[in-house]
């Protein structure tokens, strides 16, 4: 039985083997693919065929050991499905040579799993494309590769050659496989000027991803396809030697480069005159024009001086600025006009180049800056000062403190001008001031939630009512002076539309109501929308909180009184109004100021105590920075200035003898201290982000910011100057009545005093 079973197995296996085996490689004729390199020469008896063999490769110029891809296409031929294709390094004379004998290394053959120069297919149907990967020989020279196809079998195999083959030039340079860059123009060390054309030729077996043009190590441009030609404007570079480098990257990531030097030799160009020069020239011309006109008008006035007899002594004293301008006045005009011109020029530069010219930057990572800076500080400061007018108006009308009547108009002028400057401070802080009107277009939509919009609303109402207050109360004087100052008759008449003598009573009544309204709005402005801009922002530790409201109010009223004191003192001295402005008002204002300053210091104590005791880290860090850290050298001198001024003013209030000069100096110190204190409110919070994962930041204003801030002060001075020269800043009709009733000033010497 054993023998029978063996026979059965064999009987089954043999047919299976015979049936299946031909499907494997084992029975293929010839030398067989992948068994050994085949040189195709020698003993086989071959005849030419009609097949056509062609070869392709991306680049014939290769570096040593660079990878090369050779594609062999065979088409045509009239014999069977078996085709053998081989790469050889020589066709004639026989024997052909295998490529490795001359230095080629085959890294992949068409089978995908071998490295042979011979490959055979058994399903040739008239067209085939086969690909070999090789690395070039390691030595320089010319190396040819040919392709040869054998087909047919049995007794009459046929062959076809690609007789031309591929002639590879193996050259120097570059990392194997990397692109080879050569710079056609300019040549090394060539002298160039004007626009130079940089032309490169790049050889690469792998497609080029991109080529970089670098000058002095800085990438100037890139190109990702032919032609690799750039036009470079050499006038952008200083005369002298510069390095020029072209680096090409292929899609494998390998790169090759060529570096040369060029000598830039441009004739010294005429520098274009920068814009600021034009602005300064324009500013100067403007000032010269104003001065010339003023001098001319002065001459005319002197000639017509005799024809202005109708003013009595008191009036001439009160109208001093309208009648004469002396050297200090012209100096104020010229300096403030220069400041205004500076403002316009610098603002133009900032608008065209961007706020990058300031020291402001984004907070957090990576810029670690402060997005708001001294423009916002300036804004708050000006708004604070702008309360001066209403403080005086409220004192005079609502509280009936008549002794401040003489300075009422001065204070109101201060309000109007500084409010305008506050608005200007905001506009100069905006990134796109050309879109300011959008705030008005979308007002109804945004008023529900945006503190900035509330701010605009209140400021607009405040400035309108202040202008109206100033204007309505000035009508009486304008009517009185209309005939006495023929120079201004046309202007005054224009402004006096609808004037009747009997309007005074109603105007006074309306003025009373305006004063009351403004008094309420003070609390809603400086104790309201302005602090709410900051106090409602939970994101900023150090801002968020309820103390901001009362604190800002105290600061604003203090600044306001200090500014009024300074303004009145300067004008009183400049125009010799000692007889018309009682020195006692300084005492009254100084006393009120001392109370406000100590209230402000008391609120500061509240604030810092709260942030020091057991506050969240974010608040504590800011307080530490103010009291002991980054800002300490700034904070304590400011507190000292505030305390010192308070001490002086308080002492002055209770002293027996009163010296107004000290009060004025204390007021100047306070104005400066409050500007600095506003800085210490705005910036430390922004440079110490609440999110503890951010580092703290730094902020230093630049000259652009200082210029614009100084510019706003200059414009304010200019506007005050112009008003004072055109309108009576001191009440004339009212003063006249005082003298008639025997109250007020004494007559001085008979001859007109030497007024300014």
């Amino acid at each position: 039985m054993r023998k029978g079973r063996i026979f059965l197995v064999l009987a089954l296996l043999v047919p299976i083997i015979i049936a299946v085996a031909p499907l494997t490689d084992a029975f293929l004729g010839g030398a067989g693919s992948g068994i050994q390199p085949y040189d195709g020469g020698g003993s086989c008896h071959v005849t030419p065929s009609t097949a056509i063999v062609t070869m392709f490769t991306p680049s014939l110029t290769v570096a040593p050991v660079e990878s090369v891809i050779v594609t062999v296409n065979v088409s045509g031929g009239n014999s069977g499905p078996i085709l053998g294709v081989m790469l050889v390094s020589a066709l004639n004379p026989a024997p052909a040579s295998i490529p490795s004998s001359v230095g080629w290394t085959i890294t992949a053959d068409p089978s995908g799993s071998g490295t042979d120069n011979y490959y055979e297919i058994s399903n040739y149907a008239g067209q085939v494309s086969l690909q070999w990967s090789l690395t070039a020989p390691p030595t320089e020279g010319t190396f040819a590769l040919f392709a040869r196809a054998h087909h047919g079998g049995g007794g009459e195999p046929q062959f076809a050659n690609d007789e031309a083959g591929l002639s590879f030039i193996v050259g120097t340079g570059g990392i194997s496989g990397a692109p080879v860059v050569s710079i056609i123009s300019p040549s090394d060390a060539e002298s160039v000027e004007g626009v130079m054309t940089v032309n490169a030729s790049i050889e690469s077996s792998t497609p080029i991803a991109y080529a970089l043009l670098q000058i002095d190590g800085v990438v100037v441009d890139n190109k990702s396809q032919e032609p690799f030609r750039w036009d470079v404007n050499t006038t952008e570079y200083a005369n002298g030697e510069h390095s020029l480098n072209i680096t090409a990257y292929d899609t494998n990531g390998s790169f090759g480069y060529k570096e040369i030097t060029v000598n830039v030799n441009n004739p010294e160009a005429e520098k274009a005159i920068p814009n600021w020069v034009w602005a300064a020239v324009g500013g100067f011309a403007l000032i010269l024009g104003i001065v010339a006109v003023a001098l001319f008008m002065r001459k005319r006035r002197k000639e017509a001086g005799a024809s202005e007899p109708k003013l009595d002594l008191t009036e001439r004293e009160l109208l001093a600025p309208l009648l004469h301008t002396k050297l200090p006045g012209y100096a104020v005009l010229v300096l403030s006009a220069l400041g205004a011109a500076l403002f316009l020029a610098v603002w133009y530069i900032q608008m065209t180049q961007g706020l990058v010219l300031t020291g402001m930057r984004d907070y957090g990572v990576p810029l670690q800056g402060s997005p708001w800076g001294i423009y916002i500080v300036n804004f708050i400061w000006f708004v604070g000062i702008a309360h001066g007018g209403i403080v005086m108006s409220a004192a005079i009308r609502v509280m009936r403190l008549e002794k401040y009547k003489s300075i009422a108009r001065m204070a109101e002028l201060l309000t109007v001008v500084t409010l305008l400057m506050a608005g200007l401070s905001i506009v100069m802080d905006m990134g796109r001031p050309d879109r300011l009107f959008e705030m008005i277009i979308h007002y109804s939509e945004r008023v529900s939630t945006s503190p900035l919009v509330w701010d605009i609303t209140v400021i607009l109402i405040y400035i309108t009512l202040s202008i109206l207050y100033l204007y309505l109360l000035m009508r009486e004087d304008l009517a009185y002076l209309r005939d006495k100052l023929p120079r201004f008759r046309w202007l005054y008449s224009l402004l006096l539309f609808g004037y009747r003598e009997n309007e005074k009573e109603k105007i006074d009544r309306i003025a009373w109501w305006i004063a009351l309204t403004l008094l309420v709005i003070v609390f809603l402005l400086s104790g309201g929308v302005i602090p709410w801009l900051f106090g409602l922002i939970a994101a900023q530790a150090g801002w968020f909180g309820a103390i901001q409201g009362p604190m800002y109010l105290a600061a604003a009223l203090s600044s306001a009184l200090a500014a009024v004191i300074v303004m009145v003192a300067v004008m009183r001295r400049a125009f010799r109004w000692e007889k018309h402005i009682d020195v006692d008002i300084f005492r009254g204002m100084g006393t009120a100021l001392s109370v406000l300053v100590i209230i402000y210091l008391w609120f500061t104590l509240h604030e810092q105590l709260t942030y020091q005791y057991a506050a969240p880290t974010s608040e504590h860090d800011i307080s530490n920075a103010l009291l002991f850290g980054q800002y300490a050298l700034f904070f304590w001198p400011v507190i000292a200035m505030l305390l010192g001024s308070f001490a002086y003013l308080a002492a002055s209030a209770i002293a027996r003898k009163f010296n107004p000069t000290g009060t004025v100096i204390a007021s100047v110190v306070l104005l400066l201290a409050f500007w600095l204190k506003r800085f210490l409110i705005v910036i430390p919070s922004l440079t110490h982000p609440r999110l503890g994962l951010y580092p703290s930041g730094v902020y230093f204003p630049t000259w652009i910011e200082y210029s614009l801030v100084v510019g706003t002060i200059a414009i304010a001075l200019l506007l005050i100057f112009l008003f004072v020269k055109v309108f009576p800043i001191m009440e004339v009709k009212g003063a006249r009545r005082l003298t008639e009733e025997g109250v007020g000033t004494k007559e001085a010497q008979p001859s007109p005093p030497e007024v300014e």
């Binding site: 939630t449 202008i467 109206l468």
Partner: protein, 67 residues
Amino acid sequence: MGFLSIGVVLVFGIILAPVIILILASIFGKPRNLRVTAIFLGLFGGLILIGLAAVWLLTTLLSFVMP
């Protein structure tokens, strides 16, 4: 309640209240002088409009300056 947001109540209720009172006082307060009232109210509205027009003019001019 949607219309009566924080801002609306604040601005039109609290901030503008004294202004409304002012306007009413200027009309009805003694002594009655309608000419002065008209000048006042006309200037009030006029100044606000001039202010808005000035803002519009400024932004238009600035749009030529900004890049």
